[in-house]
Symmetry: C2
Subunit: 340 residues, 2 copies
DNA sequence: CTGAAAGCGCTTACAG
DNA sequence: CTGAAAGCGCTTACAG
């Protein structure tokens, strides 16, 4: 108990062992909860740890054991609430596994992402969960394979040979189109923005396929600005592109929020004069007025899935690549009307 | 170049040194960019590193050097966009300093937070940026001091002797009250929610002081649910608490969004029949309709400040505690009307 | 400007 | 069930 001259040098496992009258190896076994140690010995060691204020040194352990209990997470964006929810799901399961996340933001720049992957490696992460920046070269993943660094792709994928957790975006688009078609809409626009990547393509292709399947014009696609604040003013674009749509499906809820505001500014009443469906179903969907009907992609669940995939991979490095693609669900609220 | 039987064991600094025909110490100096090494030697070593595919092992370095180039970040919440922006600011400056963030979510539970602090220590972080959970005991910080673990408080503070980065919440409330008073409002409600902590108290006290200063009734305070989705239905509470207010100041934008929806549901037109001002000015403020007038607390900046504070502290462990409290700014948009 | 030696705090076989 | 020894990959003085 008397701290004596602690302070100056950290208390080590050897100190604990000496105090408990056992060898360092035994103390080490106690820490790792090995069943090899007798109950009384265990107690003595645990008490010594408490008395001395011992703190486990992961760094030293990792050096010897080659495991860091650390997972890298690289996302292209941190301010989009969608990624915040994803991150929250990842953090929860990583944490529950007794590990900790190293977070980094690639800003959707492949070069930065390269640098970050290197940094993660230098820090000895056991694996990384990566939402690949747009235009990431597949080589990045091959290199990771070379490095023996387990990677799981989340939300976006660039290689079929690597674990992946995402949602069935194409299916989600199908649900949105089906719903609007059922309400009688024939001219349905699709509003996109942001960089092009697998999720972008799946959403766009999903929209086109669903429209074609119903013999509807799949070509009313408008691109709105990436900057959130500029989206509202882009609403008129919806009516510049050929046939006047009666509804719009949005690439994500950020676009939906922005267009909803912009349409309002144009004097259109969402859910009365015009229909709008969002994608992702973030919490804002419920708090806007009219409430936004949106395709739920459950980012928290995707995050959890990606973390579980990685944990499984660490346990079974050699297994075949897995994909966890969750179904989407159209959350119907108030932003759509049926048309005659 | 020929990888030979690499794969099985990692290439170490000794391998690099041998390849370059120098000693391990010299190779180490090259890595750390010491000026002691001759240009030609440096080049030879760098080439050897490239040829061998050498990766620096932070873990080993940290063991010897007692620095991990790692900072822990503990927040009470990850899904609130406000924290996402904060995190984004932190990540940016930590990253720019060549360090990496270890992220954890306390869920606003002091016990979890204790566990996380311990975990951070075990992982050897150089310091931690902490947004203390509500009801955190000050002892937590004293212990950190004991541990020689640099901590900076962010957004909320529980000790004046520890660095702190936040915003002038009371001043922000003053701005909100002044603005509404100028528009002629006399009965102004204050809608709060969430756990009680320093920022909560500063906002509440700030509201009360500003109201009193203007001889207005500071007592119309209503508590709305914590769950975002339940806030709209709490809007009627505003009119149950004594004198009928003509305006409401919200604890944060999450409350503002929710009440805005709820007031709309009651048939009130924000910015015409009723006035509402938010707090934090997150991106949603600009995209809602009517646009939300909100007190900007600049979470990204606060995040940056906290990270800089920590970096400074690492450079100068002994200096006096510092506080960086940024001014708020009332961003006037469309959600308020003047009353006769 | 470069090299040989010791050591950071653990874990891992290997004996007993 | 416990102990003595070696080693993980670096950095840190200390000589030269």
């Amino acid at each position: 108990m008397p701290p004596e001259d602690r302070k100056k040098s950290r208390v080590t496992l050897l100190d604990v062992a000496r105090r408990a009258g056992v060898s360092r190896a035994t103390a080490s076994l106690v820490i790792r909860k090995s069943p090899l140690v007798g109950a009384d010995t265990r107690l003595r060691v645990e008490e010594a740890m408490r008395e001395l204020g011992y703190v486990y040194n992961m760094g030293a352990a990792r050096l010897r054991a080659e495991r860091s209990h650390t997972v890298g997470v690289i996302v292209p964006n941190l301010t989009n609430p969608f990624f915040a929810e994803l991150l929250s799901g990842i953090e929860a399961v990583v944490d529950a596994a007794g590990m900790v996340v190293l977070l980094a933001n690639s800003g959707d720049h492949p070069e930065r992402q390269d640098m970050l992957m290197r940094r993660m490696r230098e820090h000895g992460v056991d694996g990384v969960i990566l939402c690949p920046a747009a235009d990431t070269k597949p080589e990045l993943l091959e290199r990771a394979l070379d490095w023996q660094l387990p990677v799981v792709q989340v939300l976006r994928h660039i290689s079929a040979e690597i674990d992946y957790a995402g949602a069935d975006y194409a299916g989600g688009m199908q649900q949105a189109v089906d719903y609007l078609a059922l309400l009688g809409h024939r001219r349905i626009a699709f509003a996109v923005h942001g960089p092009v990547h697998s999720a972008y393509r799946e959403r766009t292709d999903g929209f086109r396929a669903a429209m074609q399947e119903r013999q509807l014009d799949p070509g009313i696609i408008v691109r709105v600005p990436d900057a959130t604040a500029s989206i509202p003013s882009a609403a008129p674009l919806l009516f510049d592109a050929g046939p006047r749509p009666t509804a719009v499906i949005c690439f994500n809820d950020v676009v939906a929020l922005g267009l909803s505001a912009g349409l309002h500014d144009m004097g259109l009443r969402i859910g009365e004069d015009f229909s709008l469906v969002g994608f992702d179903d973030v919490t804002d969907a419920e708090t806007m007025r009219p409430r936004l009907s949106s395709v739920a992609t459950a980012p928290v669940t995707i995050g959890e899935n990606s973390a579980r995939l990685l944990l499984d991979r660490l346990a079974e490095p050699a297994g075949p690549a897995r994909r966890m693609v969750t179904e989407t669900h159209l959350h119907i609220r108030q932003s759509c009307v049926s048309v005659a």
